[in-house]
Symmetry: C2
Subunit: 353 residues, 2 copies
């Protein structure tokens, strides 16, 4: 680098690194920096006149108060840390959208971090949030085990878990009511006249899978329908796995007439596989999903599914956190009900027995 370039760089760096401070504007206004600080926060201690004058000067000189300096003395940062598996997952994105909305409303900024489903990375992320001195943490759909939850319980930072594995009793959480919802969707299928209903689950042993499966079984049992092990088939929560699992179902001597899918992504794959096999939904097979992703209403046929109110859930998590920060006691665990959204992918079976 030439000397001239080096100089330019140095100048540039300097200008970048030295925003104007409270002292600068104190000098301009010919008052102490305490007065500036008070005026800028509209303290009643300062005369209306000086307050206004200082505001004007601050405005003109494009002054931006340093939140980092302020945080050091106030001992809070007005930030939240959010950890998601990956923000590319539409469910996570919906939740974060809701959190961000509420956070902004309360004057908080949000740190976002992906765990990539890697427990070690998740721990590093939480650690970095501690160092950033976030006021609170929200973790979404973490699969990190019970050990980790205990660790997190010992955290000195308030935390709220959203749709997490093993929320434990030590932390606040907001969870979708999986078993109730799944039972409802299964009952819907039964009421339509289906007797051979399959469950297309998730092979990764998610707690949500266990719960949804449980709701499915309850509904079957309540209706006096027998449980058929060959109707239980496992995907991976994504279209790819849904296709493979559906292929297994289609290969059966006696095919189910309806399939309850673990989530919408699985249902998308299942639907595709049915088509590949030259069959129709819901003509030959009815399909239900879980989540109600934005695209599900545009699937062909539009998907009947259980709607998780992602944005509201995110909002609730943020609001719970705010309560925690204020020290007011609030519900330990919020269960939210999914809404059954009836669309085109479910219909009565072709021939009743």
């Amino acid at each position: 680098m030439s000397t001239r370039n080096a100089n330019v760089c140095a100048m540039r760096r300097k200008s970048l690194a030295n925003p104007i401070s409270i002292k600068d504007i104190a000098r301009m206004a010919d008052v102490s920096h305490s007065t500036v600080s008070r005026a800028l926060s509209n303290s009643p201690m300062i005369s209306a006149q000086t307050t206004e004058r200082i505001h004007r000067i601050a405005e003109q000189s494009q002054y931006r108060a340093s939140e980092v300096a302020r945080s050091l003395v106030t001992r809070h940062t007005r930030t939240v840390g959010i950890v998601v598996t990956t923000i590319a997952d539409p469910f996570a994105a919906g939740v974060v959208d809701g959190i961000e909305d509420a956070a902004t409303e309360f004057g908080f900024s949000v740190f976002l971090a992906n765990s990539n489903a890697d427990p070690e990375r998740e721990i590093r992320v939480v650690r970095s949030f501690e160092e950033r001195r976030v006021d609170g943490i929200i973790v979404t759909s973490s699969r990190a085990g019970a050990i980790y939850v205990r660790m997190i319980g010992q955290l000195r930072i308030p935390i709220v878990l959203l749709n997490n594995q093993h929320p434990s009793e030590y932390v606040q959480s907001v969870m979708i009511d999986n078993v109730e919802a799944s039972a409802r969707a299964t009952s819907h299928l039964i009421e339509l006249g289906h007797q051979n209903i399959a469950y297309l689950g998730d092979r990764y042993g998610e707690q949500s899978d266990t719960e949804r499966f449980s709701g499915y079984r309850h509904a079957l049992q309540a209706a006096g329908l027998c449980f058929r092990p060959e109707f239980i088939v496992l995907g991976d929560g994504k279209p790819e796995g849904g296709m493979k699992a559906m292929a297994q179902l289609l290969a059966l001597a006696e095919r189910p007439t309806a399939v309850f899918c673990y989530n919408d992504m699985s249902a998308l794959g299942a639907l595709r596989q049915v088509r590949v096999a030259g069959l129709q939904v819901p003509g030959d097979i009815s399909l239900t999903g879980f989540d109600d992703l934005y695209i599900s209403q545009y699937m062909q046929p539009a998907l009947t599914t259980l709607r998780q109110p992602m944005r509201q859930m995110g909002r609730m998590a943020m609001e719970t956190l705010i309560q925690l920060l204020k020290g007011s006691a609030s519900a330990h665990s919020i269960k939210v009900a999914a809404e059954l959204v009836l669309r085109e992918s479910t219909a009565p079976p072709k021939r009743r027995k």
Copy 2:
């Protein structure tokens, strides 16, 4: 609240607000806090012995260095602010995923904020980022006008724009090459034998729409095909608008045999509308999209589209920012090529003229 509760709250607050500091561990180790600071950053000035001892003590006492205090003295925060329209948009989510990945790699944390396409809110967001003293800002797909871009150009914080309206020459940017890509997709349709190709655009006057339309026209012109105004129809970038726009096309006396859609979401709606009309894709009409969202490969039929490498683009934006921070000059504007992904939604027209 009872007195007892109040006490509990006070204790709790205290424990939350007072993490252990460098002074505490200095006391434990019986050294000065300067020594602790140096040992913790593995300064060669400190003996291996003391360094190790201090590390052990810090570990045991769960010490977490305060990034906020550190930031105050080092004058950088190792944070980036990202502004997206809404993180619920799958394109934004993909980009943020890439940014986050690269950021973590470089030891940066990311602040995320939604602008909700509201210029005022966008300005507030940027302002809050300034106060947070972020080291840099990345703005994705902002529609905020040229005035705003100028304002942002005067910002003392390095900024990089991704797929933005009017990037201007004052700021770094990474942009998809819309016109080249669109021309390629249109040419693909032409090579298949289509002569009546419609353009289903976006009514909000996005620059990307203008550019994609331009690529479409270039390709038509290069092939000597005449441009038909009635084949230009406007959606809203979402399935809903795609449906309506496609309905207009289907109502035409002479229907197009292929439709180039502004983006995948529009194509999803268009596809649905074709189905509603009892027609087939690609049998009766070929369809192409833009983006290659995750779901596009699972559409029925799988969508032929132009792939924007969202994660890589996010990564590039972050890397550009890092370069900027290091003061090294880098390309002003990076143009990235979209990849034409051939799938099932395009085929030769039924009857050639």
